[in-house]
């Protein structure tokens, strides 16, 4: 997440490309889900679209933030905005990323719960945001919450695969298992620079699975 503190030097720049890829795939899925909602009036498809839209927004913020850190633009932005240090831009980017991503995951969790009570969504969302904002270690709290939410989302998709054993359900289940492990790994890892790379690679596997799923659905 925060490049200054976590990314190994040799990985600088590659992460921006990874995040742009995640952004594009998330956006495609979000827009298609919203199209499906307009055609079928399936409310869950609408929420699912919003969830992926927030995820896509999180990835583009992360990608831009990381790009700014490597480039000279960061210093110029600091001068224009009168910010104390160049790491401020990265810190803001990291915070916005965490809030958008947790909001996206909460919406996807809400979809997997199949609850028709919107209050469930707002309670989960407000509790998650408050927990991150008030935490002494926001990043750890973010990864802890994301791991719990992704575990439940992945579990839901595994159950869906077991009910309906098809390639389209298998690819979705695998994608969310990869995403969960990529996040959970942070909590148990000692070397966060290695985590950063492994997290991105697992994310890549996950989004390749989502892309394969997209191909299977659309062919």
């Amino acid at each position: 997440m925060s490049t200054i503190f976590m990314s190994p030097d040799w990985f600088l720049g590659y992460d921006v490309i990874f995040e742009l890829f995640f952004f594009i795939i998330s956006l495609v899925i979000a827009l298609y889900a919203l199209k499906v909602y307009r055609s079928t009036n399936q409310k869950l498809a609408q929420y699912f679209g919003y969830g992926f839209l927030l995820t896509a927004a999180a990835y583009i913020v992360q990608s831009i933030s990381n790009y700014l850190v490597y480039s000279k633009l960061n210093t110029q932005i600091c001068q224009i905005a009168n910010l104390a240090s160049s790491s401020t831009v990265d810190a803001i980017g990291t915070y916005v990323y965490m809030l958008l991503m947790i909001a996206g995951l909460v919406v996807l969790l809400f979809v997997s719960l199949k609850s028709d009570k919107q209050r469930t969504l707002w309670i989960l969302l407000s509790a998650s945001i408050i927990a991150i904002m008030l935490s002494r270690n926001p990043m750890y709290t973010f990864y802890l919450l994301s791991s719990i939410y992704l575990a439940f989302i992945a579990w839901h998709f595994v159950e869906n695969y077991l009910k309906n054993k098809q390639a389209i359900t298998l690819t979705v289940a695998l994608a969310f298992i990869f995403l969960w492990f990529g996040t959970f790994h942070f909590l148990i890892s000692v070397d966060h620079a290695t985590f950063y790379v492994i997290g991105h690679i697992l994310g890549l596997f996950a989004y390749i699975m989502i892309l394969i799923n997209w191909y299977l659905v659309k062919k």
Binding site: V36, T40, N41, Q42, A45, F48, V111, S112, F157
Partner: protein, 92 residues
């Protein structure tokens, strides 16, 4: 797609039946197949004609039949893909 059939699901059922009949779908058959009242059938047929998913044919006795247009075929294909998407992510 859900417990209660929505408008699009009903239109899909009607279009699938019309496709099966290969240009010889009679209104009464569509009504029974899609489980609609006469009033609802008229309303849905109007909508499908307006969307240019079907075309109407009349024989010498003024009896009506319906067949699918290219747009209707495309809708059916796209709807099948959408159902696949909903099933993949369990959004039904």
């Amino acid at each position: 797609m859900s417990g209660k059939r929505d408008r699009v699901a009903i239109m899909n059922d009607m279009l699938e039946f019309i496709r099966e009949k290969n240009g010889d779908a009679k209104p009464t058959h569509i009504m029974y197949k899609a489980n609609l009242s006469n009033e609802m059938l008229t309303e849905y047929i109007k909508e499908l004609l307006k969307k240019e998913f079907i075309i109407e044919h009349k024989d010498k006795d003024e009896k009506r039949t319906y067949s699918l247009t290219d747009k209707g075929f495309k809708f059916l294909t796209e709807y099948t893909k959408m159902k696949g998407f909903l099933a993949a992510y369990d959004l039904n």
